[in-house]
């Protein structure tokens, strides 16, 4: 691979690491009594979940107790401890692929990252399903056949709240990293030493 292409692959390999500092997904909640810009929100990073504003996570949990939803305790969500080393591993693999410099290897890495992403999204959705359907039978507000699964992506009305679930800046940066890696794969190679 040309040096420029390698550089792009390096950058692409590093991009998953931004998920430690930029959120990859955000869920926002708006209601008549939580008008913008004072809605509640959660920012999901690879290793933590935070409220959009300082006290949001606590306030979301407090509101959720009415419908019997489990409290979102980042400390007890296993994915937040499993994913970080996996992401670092992916980055390392990506750097190795850049070092090797063979197009096939890089493509292999891209496929791996995409697979990991799909697994991640599936896991995220099943987490949402678990929280939204395993409700306390003694919940204060019980509406027949009602469940509170936030959308995987997009917006949905849940009682008086509109829930919006969208990828956040970390995801965008990762996507950009993948894109430039793809571009690198299309760049004509130098005459490589075999």
């Amino acid at each position: 691979m040309k040096p420029l292409a390698r550089l792009l692959v390096v950058l692409g390999a590093l991009s998953p690491l931004v998920l430690f500092i930029l959120p990859m997904w955000s869920i926002e909640l708006e209601a008549p009594q939580y008008p913008p810009p004072y809605g509640l929100g959660m920012k999901i990073y690879i290793n933590k979940i935070e409220g959009k504003n300082e006290n949001d996570l606590g306030n979301i949990n407090n509101l959720n107790h009415y419908i019997g939803m489990k409290r979102i305790e980042p400390d007890s969500i296993k994915e937040l401890t499993i994913m970080p080393p996996l992401v670092i591993a992916l980055s390392v693999l990506g750097l190795a692929a850049a070092f090797i410099g063979k197009r096939k290897v890089v493509v292999g890495w891209l496929v791996l990252v995409t697979l990991a992403g799909c697994v991640g999204l599936y896991d995220f959705y099943s987490w949402e399903v678990d929280y939204g359907t395993n409700l306390d039978p003694h919940a204060i507000i019980k509406i027949e056949d009602m469940t509170y699964v936030p959308p995987l992506i997009g917006s949905k009305e849940l009682l008086n709240f509109t829930a919006r679930s969208w990828p956040d800046t970390g995801f965008m940066v990762l996507g950009f990293g993948m894109a430039i890696t793809v571009v690198a794969c299309f760049m004509k190679p130098r005459i490589e030493a075999s």
Binding site: N55, N59, N62, I140
Partner: protein
Amino acid sequence: MKRIRSITAALVLSLFALIISGCSEGGKAHIGVAGDAASRVYVAPGKYDEFYNFVSGGFSGQLAVYGLPSGRLLRVIPVFSVDPEKGWGFSEETKPMLNTSHGFIPWDDFHHAEMSMSDGVPDGKWIFGNGNNTPRVARIDLSDMRTKEILEIPNSSGNHSSPFTTENSEYIVAGTRFSLPVPNQDVSISTYKENFKGTISFIKIDKTTGAMDLAFQILVPGFDYDLAHAGKGPSHDWMFFSCYNTEQANTMLEANASQNDKDFIAAINWKKCEEYVAQGKGKKIDARYAHNVFNDKTQTATSEIKNGVTILTPAECPGIIYYMPTPKSPHGCDVDPSGELIVGGGKLATVIPVMSYSKMIASIAAKKFDKEIDGIPVLNYKDCLAGEVKKPGLGPLHTEFDGKGNAYTSMFVSSEIVKWSLKDFKVLDRAPTYYSIGHLCIPGGDSKKPWGKYVIAYNKITKDRFLPTGPELAQSAQLYDISGEKMKLLLDFPTIGEPHYAQAIPAELIRNKQVKVFQLKDNNNPHVTRSEKDCRVERKGNEVHIYATAIRSHFKPDNIEGIRVGDVVYWHVTNLEQDWDVPHGFAVIGNNNSELLIMPGETLTLKWEPKYPGIHPFYCTDFCSALHQEMQGYVRVSPPGSNVPLTHN
């Protein structure tokens, strides 16, 4: 033909008569409401007012917050009077705020509001207020709009000329409207001229914390020190006080204090006072006064009785005070934005006198004194006069400035605002007020840079201005536009209590720093309960302390047994919410006390002495959530000496 002519004549005559009668009925000035007034004062749903208007509540003892231009009441901040709605003066944490050297006093007369200033401009940090009856000054924090400090003023009564601030809020002042012997003692009232004195107090303000400290008092002749304003720019070192009753009457002042043709504006050089105090020229005398401070970290107020005040005597400290003659029984004493002109509002005067700071300084330098009173030089009226506004109207009181070279004076008797030019002292415009304006306020109108868009009149007589509400009527205020050459009436609105002065500041200067919730992690109230697992009930002899929490929508604990008649119970309730605008209230049946209204992250304590055995419910009084009606609890109270164990859920 003749008949037609006579009918026409009759018609014309009656029409004429009607017009004449219509005309003679008037003779009063009328101000039409500006054509676009409705759109000028309409603040659409979801939008905000331009200005915060802080208006003193007078005999209500509180400070009201209005939005301008809508005139909507946003909040009543409790200051000198108890407020059972908020538990102010009822909760254990706030009771000390109303302590004085005479014990707990549940009320005072809040006269003037004055914002803290930096470089002669309101800085949005604090607003001060004075208590007229039991002399005190209060400091209110403008980030959470709560009263944080109250300082009693000793050797004083009728604290009226207060709490006006120096240009940089180095000091705020207090002064006696009612002279007294200093120190007070048992003498015949008719010995007023011999024994009664006035005191003028300077209270130092800490620039960072706002903390107030009584720095020194000046012992002055027994006149009534009515109002004050500080110098600015060149006159930065000076504070000017209007005083009346130079006749030194002690009875029927209405007539007896109105005899002299001229009273005084006292000019005090506070910088020079500081020098004398530093040199040790002040005399320390005994004087007991309370100093009450609300600590934000512990969320608790403490009251300390201090003793001792430093007194300066003018005869021993030349150069600290001069008297400038001014007609006649003055009220207002107002300094223009440049600091050069000092306007006296002589209630019984036929002119508005405008004194000149530079001429006053020249007179002092040349030692051109007419006489001396108790060692205080009296300057010559004409020597210090910049000019007089002739035929301004009847009963001038207060003057504010628009920063565009104009002054606005309130005329109580002729019920109008008079606009006049600071350049040539000519009357430019008059606007009637409804009715009998006392005080007026231009946002920043007593500062170096007024926001000269509006003037608000605060009137003393309401009569037919609003729908009547029995014999007792709210006082009325009017909002005028002063952006053009002529004043335009925009809005009429009622006010709480009796406004005696007001301040206004552009909303954007303070709205974004308003506290939304108190952070639970910063709550250092000694009785805080940070989470439900820490809730408990403890007995210490006949004192029971309940450490409770409130969060949507339940109290913990909400079932308590083992309390006895004869116990003194303290409910320490912490609102665990950290969400905006979710207060919880708290009240117990039959409690000889008020409710608590607790903000998110706050802890408040309510005392309760149950009087009879049986079940006592308590509940949340502020509609907090969908299940607010379920937010309740029960206490089982047993007879004295019972051995029901103390338990809770």
